[in-house]
């Protein structure tokens, strides 16, 4: 039997995902969050875990380099991938928000300047709302953009809101609910259906 490869994004999401897999009986005994290894094989040697950067998970799955993956909805919205988005794992929950200074008011006469790590998502959102916008793509520490006058508002994911608060920003609008999704390659679902369906059904029963 061929092995099923699962891609996880390094970080907290991965730890939760490994815990979920363990609770349905798929155990990785040499896994520990601190390990620098990028590939793990489960005890029955039928399932392989690989760790990649979160934005790359859909790419690996779409191209069939791995069979399934766990990734946040934010990544899937930003870069559309041709995959089955089979389960909402209901973990890693947060919200995609528009944030800015408390007193900021949307001015419809002027182009809104948005700093974000999610340029496509932000652009689509404002287009749909009919707000003219100019999106500036940033790599991180997005909160700085309005403070330093680079942008009017930011679009980012917000979990507790602490980073925003400590930098003097507030959520102006909630855009989308974000949570981790189980995605599956469109070919693998059919060619390795037995193994994959076992995992899907297992996870479905605990989410």
């Amino acid at each position: 039997m061929e092995s099923v490869k699962i891609a996880l994004a390094k970080g907290r999401l991965a730890e939760d995902a490994v815990k979920m897999l363990e609770s349905i009986g798929i155990k990785f005994k040499d896994y520990s969050p601190k390990s620098r290894k990028l590939i793990f094989v489960d005890d029955s040697e039928k399932i392989k875990l690989v760790f990649v950067k979160s934005a790359d998970v859909p790419v690996y799955v779409e191209k069939g380099a791995v069979d399934m993956g766990v990734v946040g909805k934010d990544i899937l919205m930003e870069n559309k991938a041709d995959v089955y988005e089979i389960l909402n794992l209901n973990m890693g929950k947060c919200k995609m928000c528009v944030a800015g200074f408390n007193e900021y008011e949307f001015n419809t006469n002027k182009k809104l300047i948005v700093g974000t790590k999610y340029p496509n998502t932000a652009k689509n959102y404002f287009n749909k709302k009919g707000i003219l916008s100019e999106v500036i793509k940033l790599g991180g520490s997005v909160e700085l953009a309005p403070i330093l006058g680079l942008s009017d508002v930011i679009v980012d994911i917000v979990e507790t809101g602490r980073t925003l608060k400590e930098n003097g920003l507030v959520v102006l609008e909630e855009m989308y609910d974000i949570s981790a999704r189980l995605i599956v390659n469109k070919v693998s679902l059919k060619t390795k259906s037995q193994n994959i369906e076992r995992i899907i059904e297992g996870l479905e029963s605990i989410v």
């Binding site: 061929e2 790419v59 191209k63 069939g64 089955y84 909402n88 070919v187 679902l189």
Partner: protein, 430 residues
Amino acid sequence: MVFYKDLFPEGVEDLHSEEYEFKEEIINCIKKIFKSFGYRQIVTPSFEYYDLYSGIEGTLSKDKMFKLIDNNGRILVLRPDATIPVARMAATNYKSCKDYLKFSYVTNIFRLNNTQQGDKREFIQAGIEHLGNDKPDCDAEVIAVGIKSLLECGFQDFHIDLGQIKFLNSLIEETKLNKFEKIKLHNLIENKNYGDLKEFLAKADISPRLQDIFNKVPKLYGKPEKVLMKARSLVINDEMGKALDNLEHVYNILKDYGYGKYIIFDLGFTEEMNYYTGVIFKGYVNNFGEVVLSGGRYDDLTKQFGAQKPACGFGLNIDKLIEVMSMYDVKKEIDCYTDYLVLYRENAREKAIKICQDLRERGFIVESDSYNGDASFYIKNSTFRNIKEIIEVNGENVKATNVLKNQINRYNIKQFYKVLDNKEILVSIH
């Protein structure tokens, strides 16, 4: 000064002689199959008016087309799809023809795929279009040609996903959703997004009975008999029942071809090109995550050009196919070679050229060059061009150096021909 390093756009590639020869061989093999089923090859222009594509419902996204400007300011498009031009051609040139039209093509397709994702922006597609025939036998034949093509290319481990677009469409028509909600629902089912589908249905104004059916549709894939049985229990209108009957009919014909084992049903999938109206299918090679073959029935496409011809067809992505072949090592080693390199001094030129011509007439690949009497440079470099034998012509004498066997023979011209003709009888080289 131009930096040639920067002159190579993404998504295109040079094809070297061995690779080209291999590709040609694959294409010829597939062409032969098309021909043996009576499909006749045609070519449509590489570019046509943008209006042809943009005016058609259900075509490729406009962002994905390569556009050019004509001198009169009209926009042209490099062929982004093979079916639409063939439908256009059939509808405009054979409008009153009552008989079946069976066309085949091998052509390059241009698409502005996203860069940096490893997608080709120019690729070769080979396919067939069967117009004027609305029988399930036509659908089955088209699929059978596809399966045969994959088999002849040396694949065993592949499957065809077979669906019927009317099943899902007529189910969605039962709801009172608006257009955008319908598209959303369609997408959720197609992406087998069980979680969000459930949520969407719960929020939308849909009866519990329908909700229950929609939740089950994404799971309708797998072995044909099993899927049919499950799907029959979900039928709530005539159209859905008819769609299943049609699908079963096509499947039964495919079984008579002996191809039943390659078929998997999936009632929840759709196509990027949504001009399809009936049976649709996609071909996958196991362990290769991408589609190599896709097609379906498109009864209404020719209507948009003023004709009414039911039709079915498929396209095979040759570049993807070759990619899988190299992955599976089905790829045969192709050797580009030269049988003879004839070297001559000026005084023997006439004789040498005569020898070249005689050799070519016998079917050998022959190159020639003038030299100064020292062949060592040519012998040293013979591996690069893969030359088998070097022949030096000097007056009436011929010196033949077999590079592979490291053997030197000396003849006069008469003897040379004699040996050659004997060799031909003993071992036919080609």
